[in-house]
């Protein structure tokens, strides 16, 4: 019994030592205008536009964060928006960011967008990378070894302002975490690093702040933290 308590205490100590918080980096933000009353937004997953995947989980996660921070936010579901603009928002026909003006020159597209009271098209991009060390062996004597490392999720939002055609401003956040796994016969330690959720929540919160007109706060945070403090 005493041994079991001792092992539990050691495991707890090791866990506490490895626990990592999630830091957020703000890379760039400029030129955003406040969302006026009645105006709406839509979020489009970048993978959709590139035609590489139909996965919309990241965009939905950011949207959830935005809606929980701004319950009255007017949002057009991305599939509905894409269907409304068919066939001009498909991977085959979508113009690069710089040619958004060209897309809106089509009177049918401009008319459809105007009817939606749409102000911003927000393109969401994201990826996660892991850097790990250690090794684990599986055998009749159980599972032996240890793994530890860093996990980074980076997400970016590019905002197309449909009232102010020009270079699209972007917001870029990064969440980091450390994970650890150790096993002697049976696993004694497992600390996951979940970074996608915090990154998309942070991105969603920041987007809401900017769209509410909190651009002064945005500018200050760039000056004070151009590169990434990792919060524990």
């Amino acid at each position: 019994m005493k041994n079991a308590i001792a092992i539990a205490l050691i495991a707890l100590t090791v866990s506490a030592g490895c626990t990592t918080g999630v830091g957020v980096i703000e890379r760039e933000i400029e030129g955003l205008s406040k969302l006026a009353q009645g105006e709406s937004i839509t979020l489009l997953p970048d993978q959709w536009l590139q035609g590489t995947s139909d996965d919309s989980n990241l965009a939905e996660c950011v949207l959830d964060a935005m809606q929980s921070n701004a319950p009255g936010l007017r949002y057009i579901p991305h599939q509905k928006f894409r269907d409304t603009l068919f066939p001009w928002l498909e991977p085959e026909t979508l113009p690069p960011n710089s040619q958004l003006e060209e897309l809106l020159k089509n009177p049918l597209v401009a008319d459809a967008v105007r009817k939606l009271d749409l102000r911003y098209i927000i393109i969401i991009k994201g990826n996660t990378v892991e850097e790990g060390k250690g090794a684990v062996l599986f055998g009749q004597a159980g599972i032996w070894g240890a793994l530890w490392g860093k996990r980074k999720s980076r997400m970016a939002a590019t905002l197309w302002d449909l009232k102010k055609i020009g270079p699209a401003p972007s917001v870029d956040v990064e969440a980091q975490g450390r994970y650890a796994f150790a096993s002697a016969i049976l696993p004694v330690l497992f600390i996951p690093a979940v970074t996608e959720g915090p990154a998309c929540r942070e991105l969603g919160e920041r987007l809401v702040r900017y769209l509410k007109g909190d651009s002064v706060l945005a500018a200050e945070s760039i000056e004070s933290s151009p590169v990434s403090p990792e919060t524990e």
């Binding site: 139909d54 996965d55 068919f86 066939p87 001009w88 085959e92 026909t93 597209v109 459809a112």
Partner: protein
């Protein structure tokens, strides 16, 4: 005397079960199963292209209407499974939507031009054909369909002909293979719809023909 009966009964029962199982396995071996892939070719309502104020004819040949693509799939099974893609009916529905979005009026015609002089109002006849189909062998998650679109003048002269390829890949998880294949096919058809709707009048021969036919092409590609 009684023990004889009790020995005989379970032996016979086991034999019968064995024969039944063997027959079941044998009957499954040569046949496998055939699954029909569900395809919904519906495009979004009212695509954002302007319709030309002309009447065109459309001819769907019998081969086109009844076209089927079949592929075998046996990755996780000792038996062959055949997947049947009823592309003919879906393609008719797809081109009905595409042409109705491009032209004010579309009339089905039962043969290629030359047309009867009773139909002078038809500017041209359009005939789609399926020229190639392929599906990813591993899991039928990707589908490519190639159509050849021919445009004929009412007197039978060929105005233009070009190929359009549509590709679709499904990201569905935990679904039946036929459902995944249907999703990929639907995306390939949407891709075809996008390409035809956005570029139909960009072909110089087609544009020249319809300009000559009295219509001004107002469809703009952004």
């Amino acid at each position: 005397m009684l023990p004889k009966v009790s020995h005989w009964y379970p032996t016979m029962r086991l034999k019968r079960v064995g024969i039944f199982l063997a027959a079941l396995a044998l009957s499954s071996l040569p046949g496998g199963c055939t699954y029909t892939v569900p395809i919904d070719p519906t495009l979004p309502r009212r695509p954002l292209v302007e319709r030309l104020p002309v009447m065109v004819g459309v001819h769907y040949s019998e081969d086109f209407r009844s076209f089927e693509y079949r592929t075998r799939y046996d990755l996780y099974s000792p038996f062959d499974h055949t997947y049947r893609f009823p592309l003919g009916a879906a393609s008719v529905a797809l081109f009905d939507q595409i042409l109705a979005s491009l032209f004010e009026e579309v009339k089905p015609v039962d043969h290629l031009p030359p047309l009867s002089p009773k139909k002078p109002e038809i500017s041209a006849v359009i005939q789609p054909k399926i020229s190639a189909v392929s599906a990813e062998k591993l899991d039928l998650r990707s589908v490519t369909i190639e159509y050849e679109i021919g445009i004929y003048a009412p007197d039978g002269a060929k105005v233009a002909s070009w190929k359009v390829e549509g590709f679709g890949r499904s990201d569905m998880e935990l679904s039946l293979i036929k459902t995944i294949a249907g999703d990929a096919t639907q995306k390939a058809m949407r891709d075809v719809g996008t390409r035809v709707l956005s570029s139909f009048f960009q072909d110089p021969d087609v544009k020249a023909w319809f300009d000559k036919a009295g219509a001004t092409s107002r469809t703009r590609a952004p």
